[in-house]
């Protein structure tokens, strides 16, 4: 027997011959190989023998009246097997006319070549009709068989389920091995218990409502991608979905709602290859007792729930992570936009000083975190859940502070204030890299003292889009305790375009003994070259400056640092002492460079403004001095001119006075008495 074993491996027929077949005494089951059902007597072999034996006694007489052969049995046969007729393997191409057998209950047409169901409308007592392995293309001719309970149409060429309207008592419907693409026209079969649609062309399962008695549904070897309506089957216990095209549990989600299901198979589906397959199925279908023909143990169930919980956690985590990341990205975009705006504005001010209205159409008031409507377009492919969550964010920040292990990243000038926060000693101690993006370098300079105190282990500084334009600005970095690595991103830092910038950095910050600049190691040669290029500058800056200037420049720098310290909360004398020692050490290490300082433009202009007053005063003071001096000079010159004449007159007067000795003596005495 060829394909029988594969699909139709056990047709259990238990027939009570004694009494009239009542519905509940006739049971038919279709089963696969490893059946866990209580075994029934396998009557199949008996049947087979029986039918072949019967076949010998059948005469098929071709009638002259019609093209159909007419069946005739011997009366012996008719009495012995009054209710069953087997025409198996009779090479029939059409259904023969069966006369005088109207009380037939079982009819077997297996293994023939019948193309149409015909000539059986008179057998109105038929209970079981077996047309397995024929060539039937359409279900028809069954409308009078109202008692039919078993209809076996496996291995035919049926393309559509139809014309079953009157078969309301149908118990078993076997349509396996056909060409059916859609489940339809069976909703009235409320007594149907077994439905076999294996090996068809079904792509999805739905339209199952009304099958209130269905306990077994076989859908193996189809192309099913999703399953619906199974929760409308109140009695369904066994569902076989092996060898289909199911790839996610969502496509069979209705199974979770079916409380009657206890046995299900998914093997041969893509879903069965997934790592999460078993525990997802178990977790979602707690009512299940058997999966893929294997009993589910308690242990497995426990594992499944544990794993499912872990999955949930992970998903939630990753969702949170991606939300965070997206928020970060948006914030950084926002900061970048403002940076560009700011740069544009500065450029505009520089070039269009006459024009009152600035060129940039963007309103500067957008700076304090309002929702920027431009963003949803830029978000790119996000799953809808994420998008919804993000649009709930009513405020997008204008700066971002991020700590990632050993890196502290600051975006936007607002982030600089975060350095004032109370950082735990542990977190702060772990930070070795500090990265600044979209912040003006001049603003960073002002917080460098804070950085030095709060993050003592920061050894690597990164600058991107910070407007580093002059070599001088690097002087400001000298006040830090130590830098091992420096990364200046070319983007937004024009200073990188200079040929000598690296050497200048090495020169000015030589006391740090930097290891790397922009990722490349610093070699001995680099240091020597730096010293060679700028060594004289240092020499000049230290040895040729007059003493008072040295002191004033160094004093200035120190005073500035103190000012920052005092502005922050570090008024403890301990810190100031430390500062003193620090700067003393600094000064000792490289006096010749310490005078190379950087004052931000604003401070510089401020200082110059302050000096203006003094300059005015000095000017007037000097002018007064000069006036005085010139007056004195004039008087001196005048005196020089007049002196000879004056001298002569003096001498003449004196001589005239003394000419008469006596009168002179009298005059002198008189003068003395007058005095007293």
């Amino acid at each position: 027997m060829d394909c029988q074993a594969e699909v139709n491996c056990g047709l259990h027929l238990v027939i009570q011959t004694s009494s009239l077949p009542e519905k509940n005494k006739v049971e038919f089951k279709l089963n696969k190989d490893t059946s866990s059902f209580p075994g029934r007597l396998l009557q199949h072999d008996l049947e087979r023998n029986y039918s072949s034996r019967q076949g010998d006694h059948i005469n098929l007489v071709s009638s002259s009246l019609s093209s159909f052969p007419i069946l005739q049995r011997s009366s012996e046969e008719k009495i012995l097997y009054s209710d069953r007729l087997s025409l198996e393997r009779q090479k029939l191409t059409v259904c023969p006319i069966i006369n005088g057998e109207d009380h037939l209950r079982l009819l077997n047409f297996q293994h023939n070549f019948i193309t149409r169901i015909q000539n059986i409308s008179n057998l109105q007592k038929l209970i079981s009709l077996d047309l397995y392995d024929n060539q039937i293309e359409e279900i028809s001719g069954l409308s009078t068989l109202r008692c039919l309970r078993v209809l076996l149409l496996g291995k035919n060429r049926i393309k559509k389920i139809s014309n079953l309207e009157n078969l309301k008592s149908l118990d078993v419907l076997d349509l396996h091995g056909n060409q059916i693409t859609k489940i339809e026209n069976i909703n009235h079969l409320c007594e149907l218990r077994v439905l076999n649609l294996a090996r068809n062309f079904l792509s999805h399962v739905d339209n199952l409502n009304g099958l209130d008695s269905l306990t077994e549904l076989n859908l193996r070897h189809n192309q099913i991608t999703f399953v619906r309506d199974v929760d409308n089957l109140p009695c369904l216990q066994h569902l076989f979905l092996s060898f289909n095209n199911i790839s996610s549990f969502d496509s069979v989600s209705c199974l979770a709602d079916s409380s009657s299901l206890s046995d299900i198979t998914f093997d041969g589906n893509p879903i069965a290859q997934e790592s999460w397959y078993k525990h997802t199925v178990l977790q979602n279908m707690m009512q299940l007792r058997q999966l893929d023909m294997k009993r589910i143990t308690e242990e497995e169930r426990r594992m499944a729930s544990v794993l499912a919980k872990k999955e949930e956690e992970k998903k939630r985590e990753s969702h949170k992570q991606s939300l965070l990341k997206e928020k970060k990205r948006l914030t950084i975009n926002n900061v970048a936009r403002q940076w560009d705006l700011q740069q544009q504005r500065v450029a505009n001010i520089a070039t269009n000083e006459d024009r009152k209205d600035s060129d940039s159409p963007q309103d500067p008031c957008q700076i304090d975190g309002s929702t920027l409507s431009a963003f949803p377009e830029e978000t790119g492919p996000l799953d809808s859940g994420l998008n919804n969550a993000l649009q709930g964010l009513s405020v997008i920040d204008t700066y971002l502070v991020e700590v990632d292990g050993d890196t502290l990243s600051l975006y936007g000038s607002g982030a600089l204030e975060s350095l004032d926060r109370n950082w735990s000693v542990q977190t702060a101690g772990m930070i070795t890299t500090v990265s600044f993006t979209f912040i003006e370098f001049d603003e960073i300079v002002q917080v460098l003292p804070k950085l030095k105190i709060k993050f003592p282990n920061s050894l690597h500084l990164k600058f991107k889009e910070t407007n580093l334009v002059m070599l001088q600005q690097f002087n400001a970095l000298a006040q830090l305790r130590r830098i091992d690595q420096l990364t200046i991103d070319p983007q937004g830092n024009p200073v990188v375009n200079f040929t000598l910038w690296k050497y200048y950095v090495l020169f000015r910050l030589s006391h740090f003994s930097m290891q790397k600049i922009n990722g490349t190691e610093v070699t001995q040669n680099d240091m020597i070259m730096a010293e060679r290029l700028f060594g004289i500058l240092a020499h000049v800056a230290s040895s040729e400056l007059p003493q008072y200037r040295l002191i004033s420049i160094l004093g200035d720098a120190r005073k500035k640092q103190f000012r920052y310290l005092l502005e922050s909360k570090g008024k403890k004398p301990g810190i100031i002492n430390e500062e003193n020692n620090d700067s003393k050490r600094l000064v000792g290490e490289n006096t010749n460079r310490a005078t190379l300082n950087y004052t931000t433009r604003d401070f510089y202009n401020e200082k110059l403004e302050e000096i203006k007053e003094k300059k005015k005063f000095c000017k007037t003071y000097i002018e007064d001095l000069v006036k005085e001096a010139t007056e004195i000079n004039m008087k001196n010159e005048a005196l020089q001119k007049l002196w000879p004449q004056m001298f002569i007159e003096l001498v003449r007067d004196a001589v005239i006075e003394i000419r008469n000795k006596n009168s002179y003596m009298k005059l002198c005495l008189q003068q003395i008495t007058d005095q007293k």
């Binding site: 400056l545 004033s552 003094k614």
Partner: protein
């Protein structure tokens, strides 16, 4: 020193000519600013140091631009300081952009205006392709002319424009006025077709200018020399000629001749000492820091350095010494 002409000048004029008041004012201003620090070691000493540094030309270091350009002596000192500090850059052979030179200038004078550097660069590049690289000597000499004679050059530019557009060269030209008086209009039709202006005409105007104004200008004789070889010239051609002229350079007295620009044996010696010291310093730091030491202190380096030192100390035939300008 006590020459009779000096004593013959009336007092204010004398002071003005020598810019004595500028220095006095500045000294007092510095005194006020750094009162606390200076009071520690005495005012007399302060004034001594101040005027000593004025004489040596180190007073302009790290000062604001308004002071640096205040007197010719300051300008000369600044040029000289720039040369001394960054001669090594030139010696190294690097060609830098205008912006980078400006950066170097800013290291010595934080608010040095970009304009001046741009103008100097224009002279070198003949008003073309401002992003080009320039050599140290080219830039330095052009910068010298531009910085020291900046007011003079502004007037010359105005004269040049007028000549180019065909106005009368004998009209009174003041740099700030928008148009001169047009009394005569000679047929200078050729000026439009050929490039630049006629040299002799140009020189006449310059002579008038030199006679009239108060700020310093190059010695007219030398200017005539510079113009003697050409028939016609452009503005930047003229400036380039000025910058390359040895005589003018010597008259200024700030920089050595072009050939000797890279020579400064005293500084070279000092530099070598610094380099050696820094190498020792670095390796000792490394040992202290207990780092694995990506590069050890190689004997080769030291030998190299010693060799260089010995070459520097070979006596050069020309020793340039800077004399304070009387």
């Amino acid at each position: 020193m006590l020459s009779p002409e000096r004593l013959a000048l009336p007092d204010y004029e004398y002071l003005a000519q020598r810019h004595v008041l500028t220095y006095m004012e500045d000294a007092v201003c510095q005194l006020l600013e750094n009162r606390e620090d200076i009071s520690q070691y005495g005012i007399a000493r302060f004034f001594t140091e101040y005027f000593n540094s004025v004489c040596q030309g180190t007073h302009i270091l790290f000062r604001e631009f308004s002071f640096v350009q205040a007197t010719p002596h300051n300008r000369v000192s600044f040029l000289r300081a720039f040369w001394r500090c960054f001669r090594t850059v030139g010696k190294n052979g690097d060609l830098l952009t205008m912006k980078e030179y400006h950066c170097l200038l800013q290291l010595l004078c934080p608010d040095f205006p970009l304009e001046l550097t741009q103008k100097a660069a224009r002279i070198v590049l003949m008003d073309d392709a401002m992003d080009c690289l320039m050599s140290f000597s080219d830039f330095l000499f052009a910068f010298q002319i531009q910085f020291y004679y900046s007011e003079f050059l502004d007037s010359v530019a105005a004269i040049y424009e007028d000549l180019l557009s065909g106005k009368n060269p004998n009209t009174v030209i003041v740099p700030t006025s928008s148009s001169g008086q047009h009394r005569q209009r000679p047929a200078l039709g050729e000026a439009g077709m050929l490039e630049g202006v006629e040299a002799s005409l140009f020189y006449q105007c310059l002579e008038n200018l030199c006679d009239r104004h108060k700020y310093s200008c190059p010695p007219p004789a030398l200017v005539k020399e510079a113009l003697s070889n050409v028939q016609r010239l452009t503005f930047y051609g003229f400036l380039m000629a000025l910058s390359k002229h040895h005589g003018i350079n010597q008259a200024l007295g700030a920089l050595p001749d072009k050939g000797d620009l890279m020579h400064d044996p005293a500084m070279d010696e000092e530099l070598e000492r610094l380099v050696v010291r820094s190498k020792l310093h670095r390796t000792s730091r490394q040992h202290r820091a207990k780092e694995p030491g990506a590069f050890g202190f190689q004997r080769r380096e030291k030998q190299e350095a010693l060799e260089r030192v010995s070459s520097a100390s070979v006596p050069t035939p020309y020793h340039y010494r800077w004399e304070p300008r009387v």
